[in-house]
Subunit: 353 residues, 2 copies
């Protein structure tokens, strides 16, 4: 397995990515890394075993518009890293199996889409990530912001890609899929959601998807289904609401435990428990969102990731590549779309223009 | 102030609503209640001071379809309670100033809309509620599920109604309003959201709204703005995601503190602090969502509310009525819509057919 790492991406760049790479290599003796960045930034990593340095002269800034990343900075570390997923010609294999970047999401998605193109049958790539649930496992959610407006077909494609991701990374062969809605009944939701429900039921009837039905916001954390599908607007709002609430609650806990000497004493006694709790809900532990639906595997780390979090993204990317996520997505998409009934859903399964 | 209480609504009916009414009356010596329910259910409250019993023979069940509530159960406690907000003729005042029910949301909204009609300038009523924020205050959010698909004009109307609610209940004369989006830049979001942003900016330019701009999911809990506006689908998902996360986190905390004898000891020491934390995030403390945009004030309690939570809904309803929320909404809507520029936004401000 070879991972192309955009060492310049994220809020902290090489000061985070290089230590993360080192830690990752120590626990993955079979893995190789392509470290992509400016020669100066990569200097500390010269001579590292199982590492190849790939120089880029430019860096996509966290606030660069998509346009700058796409058209102006043609030698950016992000672009060069993604390019490692493309073979020079049809005979030779690609230089890397998967690419990881903590750089700006919009630019990463645009570059990945431009350079790699989408898999046949997929109109739009989606961003998928996991959230911890009450079963002690994780719920995979997509799309988290790549697609603001979605058609029913897009939501079906997300369901198939999400299933492939869970099958490949978490080793669940037949993951359950829920459609995020505002009620469990079939008649709930917008027109798009209701038609997406029809498509998902048809796919399930064909044996191509383990469709559970509608789920609601609380089901994400209850772990009702392995995969939760929604459009990128709703997914992004839900994810950021979650981050906001988690932040507010940890601030409330801190305030209560530092109120006076007695509560501080209580905090001291409770510290080991609070630490375990913190570790359990620590979003760094499941950093690494997958960009699904492209002809190449790209993982996005949180921009503010520290070395531990970035290493977790490398691990997730590595596992996905090792389990041939790309082939799984491609296979499932072909199977599902080919098997969809022509009637009555033909107007829905036709890929959007 | 006179409150019409649907004593039969909610998962627990009179066993919760009657004790809540009693507790409310004890702390509100000026208030009067119209207790609406079956004679049998209201028997324990016979002879209560400042209470009038209004008998209804039917009850809208929590899972009754809207149609049953609207067309079949014409003598339901919910319907009779809402009817108390209508005057018999133009000369006489209404029997109650505000109505509170813990009954099924869809039925309550449909009945309220049918019986009361919407305020001029409002196409669709919205459901507004509050969430605690890091400033120690509350963020008012709407719509939370009444309207699945919204136009830009609807979102503008929600902004105006939310501002009126915060002004009336929380006593903030010029509350800030944020438009829930997936990025802070003006160019972010769907077409509807971008056009809603144009309308909100126009209303702010006219001095009718304190518009902050786009906000993201995390801003709800950060308390970036007093009011957060979104369509009912997004609002409902965000609210239920929040409830789900809060539930999962409290389960995680419980699991960690009950792991072994040492953690249980720590829990004992930390108990007073944990209790304070719990009280702070306790959703019962801010129970009571407002149905805004109707020619009558209706408040919706959580269906699963206990007596304490239902009492809080009565208090919120009482405060809203005392502060003349209805007049405030009406006044603000008229001012805002009349002042909207004819160009370039005329196609947006025209009320939808």
């Amino acid at each position: 397995m070879r991972i192309a790492v955009d060492c310049m991406g994220g809020d902290h760049g090489p000061s985070v990515t290089l230590p993360a790479c080192k830690a990752f290599l120590a626990t993955h003796p079979q893995a190789e890394l392509l470290l992509v960045g400016t020669a100066e930034a990569l200097a500390p990593a010269v001579g590292w075993a199982r590492c190849t340095q790939v120089t880029a002269t430019e860096v996509v800034a966290m606030d660069d518009p998509v346009d700058v990343a796409l058209r102006r900075k043609k030698d950016s570390s992000m672009r060069v890293a993604i390019s490692q997923l493309k073979s020079a010609d049809e005979q030779s294999p690609a230089l890397a199996d998967v690419c990881v970047s903590a750089g700006n999401t919009g630019a990463l998605m645009a570059l990945a889409r431009y350079l790699l193109k989408t898999v046949d049958g997929i109109d739009r790539p989606a961003i998928a990530s996991v959230l911890p649930n009450e079963h002690g496992g994780f719920t995979t959610m997509l799309d988290l912001g790549a697609n603001v407006d979605c058609t029913p077909e897009h939501l079906l494609q997300f369901a198939v890609m999400g299933s492939a991701l869970v099958a490949a990374v978490d080793g669940r062969p037949d993951p359950t899929v829920g459609l995020l809605n505002i009620g469990s009944e079939v008649i709930k939701g917008s027109d798009v959601i209701k038609r997406a429900g029809d498509l998902l039921r048809a796919a399930a009837a064909g044996g191509h998807l383990n469709y559970h039905g509608n789920v609601e916001g609380n089901d994400i954390f209850e772990g009702t289904t392995d995969v939760v599908v929604c459009d990128g607007f709703v997914g992004n709002v839900a994810l950021k609401t979650t981050e906001g609430l988690a932040h507010a609650l940890s601030q409330f806990i801190r305030e209560e435990f530092t109120r006076n000497w007695w509560t501080k004493l209580a905090a001291l006694v409770a510290l080991p428990v609070l630490k375990r709790f913190r570790a359990r809900v620590d979003p760094r532990g499941y950093n690494g969102a997958a960009l699904l639906g492209l002809r190449g595997l790209v993982f996005k780390s949180h921009g503010g990731a520290d070395a531990y979090a970035f290493e977790r993204a490398l691990v997730r990317a590595h596992d996905a590549a090792r389990n041939r996520l790309l082939d799984q997505v491609r296979g499932r998409i072909v199977d599902t779309l080919q098997s969809m009934p022509i009637q009555p859903a033909d107007e829905f399964v036709r890929p959007a223009a």
